[in-house]
């Protein structure tokens, strides 16, 4: 996978004495979708957050589009970029959080438009047009002027997805996008993500929704205790798990 869109090499992350990631590798080709599954605390969110340097990895490297991400080579070693340099790279990676994190002082349209305006220097009318188009994609055209507090969780998450799409990102990261939602609101968010996947967008998705992961992803990674225990196509990993730990995990999920 020399010209993979995303390459993660030997990623380690330590919080104090707690080693959360113990050397993780992955690669993602353009237009592909990888789902990361695993029990709580296995490090899957941390892994995702290391990809766009929301967390700085303790060791290892991330490459986006062949370019070193979040670091610069300096002599024989690597140095972390400044936050300002990093911002330029992060602009190419959309991220959707478990807690939505819409900005409460901005309307849905403003939430989507402010990034393109401030980061890419778009004019307000251009950015608003872009925002309206992105909100239409997530079926939120009827709520463009609403403030986040007046939206349901599912609607907020869809606006958050539109906000990430407005970056016109090379890669989308989803960090348990439905875990904070009431059960009846999960469907509308999963539908939107499915539609984006069908468009051929590249994405990495951390999720508890095993059935959804099976449908939407072309590759599944099972992370346990900071290492990848099993990976492969959804059929291999979810339908024919080899590893006892993975079997146990899938049984638990199904029972719920």
């Amino acid at each position: 996978m020399e010209n993979a869109l995303l390459r993660v090499e030997n990623l380690h992350k330590r919080f104090g004495t707690l080693e959360v990631l113990k050397g993780v590798n992955m690669a993602l080709d353009r237009g592909h979708k990888t789902a990361i599954i695993g029990p709580s605390g296995c490090g899957k969110s941390t892994m995702l957050r290391c990809i766009n340097y929301m967390e700085t990895p303790t060791a290892g490297h991330v490459y986006l589009d062949g370019e070193l991400f979040g670091e610069r080579q300096s002599g024989d070693g690597f140095v972390r970029m400044s936050e300002t340099e990093l911002a330029t790279q992060r602009a190419h990676v959309g991220m959707v959080f478990q807690g939505f994190y819409l900005w409460p002082h901005l309307s849905a349209r403003e939430n989507v438009a402010i990034g393109p305006m401030k980061v890419r220097g778009m004019s307000k009318s251009e950015a608003n047009d872009l925002a309206d188009a992105m909100l239409e994609k997530v079926h939120m055209s009827h709520k463009v002027d609403e403030y986040p507090e007046r939206l349901s969780g599912g609607q907020q998450q869809r606006v958050a997805i539109a906000r990430a799409l407005a970056q016109q990102p090379k890669l989308m990261l989803f960090d348990e996008p439905t875990s904070a939602l009431d059960p009846e609101l999960i469907g509308e968010v999963l539908n939107v993500i499915q539609e984006l996947a069908d468009e051929g967008r590249s994405m990495v998705l951390v999720t508890h929704e095993i059935r959804f992961a099976r449908e939407v992803a072309d590759r599944v990674i099972f992370l346990h205790d900071g290492v990848i225990v099993e990976e492969g196509s959804p059929e291999e990993v979810i339908d024919n798990p080899n590893h006892e730990r993975l079997r146990g995990f899938l049984r638990q999920i199904v029972e719920h």
Binding site: M54, E83, H105, I114, K118, R163
Partner: protein, 218 residues
């Protein structure tokens, strides 16, 4: 009755003159306090330990000593360092430094009240830390701190009375002068209090108005 109006004209004039100074001192020291308090609260976020200790020391000293003592020290001690300042700038510096300490805590609490995810979401769309502060954090801090900020402004307006002690020509300074020359103690002080009320009451309503507008998008 005629006598009353004559008295009102005679005594009200100087008091109104003082009211102008009171308003000027309030606005100037409020600006100093806001700029200072917000800057310190933001600097504190950088997490440079020795700097944070310095800021905490400043905050604790100014919050735990009387503002009158602070103003006396500034007004009467700076000349020993070769710096001569009038009562007006001394009042503004004293009240401003004092307010900076109070508002530093107010802004810090406001910034802390914002979920860290708000900033992460800003960084995730490619904003620099400065943009995230400017467009995401500060507007929300403003909303959260507006009520305590408004209450502080109202308290400050009335607290400016202490600077009459260094002869800054505000309402209470004139009131005391008038009492000395006319012996109309009750009349003068009631009139002075009335002027404070007329300044403070609309300000309080204005703050309420602001709060209501900010709440529109809550």
């Amino acid at each position: 009755m005629e006598d009353f109006f004559q008295k009102l004209m005679e005594l009200g004039g100087p008091l109104l003159l003082g009211a102008g100074t009171t308003v000027a001192i309030t606005i100037a020291s409020l600006l100093v306090a806001i700029v200072l308090g917000l800057s310190l609260a933001l600097i504190r976020l950088l997490g440079i330990l020795p700097v944070n200790w310095l800021i905490s020391t400043y905050v604790e000293i100014f919050r735990n000593t009387p503002v009158l003592a602070q103003i006396f020290i500034i007004y009467f001690s700076l000349p020993y360092l070769g710096i001569n300042i009038g009562p007006f700038p001394a009042a503004v510096i004293g009240l401003g430094l004092n307010g900076g300490a109070v508002l530093c805590e107010v802004f810090r609490a406001g910034l802390n009240a914002i979920h860290h995810g708000q900033r992460e979401a800003a960084l995730a769309v490619g904003m620099t830390p400065w943009m995230s502060l400017r467009y995401i954090m500060l507007p929300q801090t403003w909303r959260i701190t507006l009520p305590p900020l408004g209450n502080y402004a109202i308290a400050l307006l009335k607290d400016t009375a202490v600077v009459s002690a260094i002869a800054a020509p505000e309402i209470m300074f004139w009131a005391r002068n008038l009492v000395t020359s006319t012996f109309q103690t009750t009349f003068v002080y009631i009139l002075a209090a009335l002027i404070y009320f007329c300044l403070s009451f609309p300000l309080a309503r204005l703050v309420e108005q602001f709060e209501r507008r900010q709440r529109a998008w809550q």
